[in-house]
């Protein structure tokens, strides 16, 4: 029986966020999806190298959110097995493949932003006092695929099922869509996309809610 990674690989080539994966003979080639046509890319063969590639953007700034649309350019990675691919993708987009598989199995639970905020303690406890209108604005700017984050939002604002932000395009909530293409960005477009799913708001958004409350 094929494991889930192999099943995804059947669809090669595919895009996972800004990473393009395709086959070349028996090898798997990964690169930034903007650059498949480039032939002067720095070559890597070890999946662990993905940690360093994903750490800084093109300008050398640290990337605290790996699903932000600022993966650096200029590299290509040649891998030999689906196990290596799983490791590399786990470093480019930590946790996203496993969350996608859980979603496919029907086991992914989502958590509303209000539940996440109400659970916080310590310095983040105050974040729960953010208003609905403030959330609507904050999420629209913070999570937007154009400059914010490439994940598809699956979580709701509250337990009543309110949409996370009424100010985000509806495509932001559709896992069948490619968030990079939804931006209208050029570059390599392939038929298949493995979505980067957001089942629960990240710690960065919680921290941003706190800042809004504190007026920082």
């Amino acid at each position: 029986m094929q494991n889930p990674v192999e099943r995804v690989l059947e669809a090669v080539p595919f895009c996972f966020g800004e990473v393009l994966v395709r086959k070349s003979g028996k090898s798997l080639l990964l690169c930034h999806r903007d650059e498949d046509a480039q032939d002067d890319l720095e070559m890597f063969q070890n999946p662990e190298d993905a940690i360093e590639i994903a750490k800084y953007d093109d300008a050398g700034n640290y990337r605290p959110l790996k699903t932000a649309p600022n993966l650096r350019h200029g590299w290509r990675m040649k891998l030999q097995s689906s196990a290596e691919l799983k490791h590399a993708l786990g470093h480019f987009y930590p946790g996203r493949l496993a969350v996608f598989f859980a979603w496919q199995r029907g086991e992914l639970r989502t958590t509303s932003l209000r539940e996440t905020l109400d659970r916080q303690s310590g310095m983040y406890r105050i974040a729960a006092t953010i208003s609905d209108a403030q959330i609507d604005d904050l999420v629209a700017g913070f999570c937007h695929s154009n400059g914010g984050c490439l994940r598809t939002i699956l979580w709701k604002r509250d337990q009543h099922g309110t949409i996370a932000s009424t100010k985000l395009p509806i495509q932001k909530f559709d896992p069948t869509l490619d968030q990079v293409q939804a931006l209208g960005r050029t570059g390599s477009a392939t038929g298949t996309t493995v979505p980067l799913l957001c089942q629960e708001s990240c710690n960065l958004l919680v921290a941003a809610c706190r800042k809004v409350v504190k007026g920082e």
């Binding site: 800084y56 640290y62 959110l65 992914l108 310590g122 089942q199 960065l204």
Partner: protein, 273 residues
């Protein structure tokens, strides 16, 4: 360990320090290489995968048991409040609706092997130096509301002192007495070895402790926020200039203990015990 067992190493991570998660990821890669567990993953409070993502990292069909080892220096707010809450743990053993069992282990810093590791690191940073003519200083943060690292550093200093190898062994702190900045008064020996008792290198070990000791600060350091370029010391230059000659003394300054490859052994031991 069985072929249906996974290891989850939990660490703090950082939104500003690019080196915060590096040791945890390196230890995970080493343990993965040893093939003790079917899967080895990391999860972070401030990085990805998040602690909440960790709930979905292991397919219950192939992984029946998950050992959760906090890569923290001591018990504290994170090990006692944040990690159990975010991972939905109800104590030492939690059974998920899928039947998957999660076992919550002690933080790495609590293990008795930590003492040997500190000794090893002290020996490596000051090769050929006679411990009997040397003071060993273990530096923790102190006044840290989130961790009892001060207590842990004190315990380790006591254990090493009891071995009688070093002339003096002291636990010192950045923000409470005994202060690391008072090292000249606190020690009398010609040689002084300083080992930061932290999980990873970062602003404390690259900049703050060297400044408190009196090691000249490298130029161009950017204390930065998210997106700022890493500090000029990011590649550990300060650890390669040993010994630092200060006031006719030889001071040997080690990287944070958590960057030692020996941490991988301790993580495995914490999962087993």
């Amino acid at each position: 360990m069985t072929d249906k067992t996974a290891l989850l190493i939990v660490a703090h991570g950082s939104t500003v320090n690019p080196d915060s998660s590096a040791p945890t990821l390196a230890h995970a890669a080493e343990i993965r290489r040893r093939k003790i567990f079917r899967e080895v993953s990391c999860a972070f409070w401030k990085e990805e995968p998040s602690l909440r993502d960790a709930l979905f990292l292991f397919d219950p069909k192939s992984v029946r048991e998950v050992y959760v080892v906090p890569n923290f220096i001591s018990e504290g707010y994170f090990t006692q409040t944040v990690i159990p809450r975010e991972l939905e743990l109800n104590g030492r053993i939690t059974k998920r609706p899928s039947g998957q069992i999660w076992k919550y282990c002690e933080p790495v810093g609590n293990h008795s092997l930590m003492t040997e590791l500190l000794l090893k690191r002290a020996g490596e940073v000051a090769p050929g130096v006679n411990p009997a003519e040397t003071s060993l200083l273990i530096v923790a943060h102190g006044t840290d509301l989130n961790e009892n690292s001060a207590v842990a550093a004190k315990r380790e200093a006591e254990k090493i002192r009891a071995l009688g190898k070093f002339s003096e062994v002291l636990n010192v702190y950045m923000e409470e007495p005994p202060l690391i900045s008072d090292w000249r008064k606190l020690t009398e020996t010609r040689n002084v070895v300083v080992v930061p008792f932290f999980i990873s290198d970062g602003l404390h070990s690259y900049e703050d402790i060297p400044r408190l000791i009196g090691i000249p600060a490298p130029a161009g350091v950017d204390r930065g926020g998210p997106g700022s370029t890493p500090p000029a010391t990011a590649h550990g230059e300060v650890f390669r200039r040993n010994p630092h000659k200060i006031d006719n003394r030889s001071l040997f300054y080690a990287p944070s203990i958590g960057t030692d490859p020996g941490f991988a052994d301790i993580i495995v031991e914490q999962a087993k015990s």
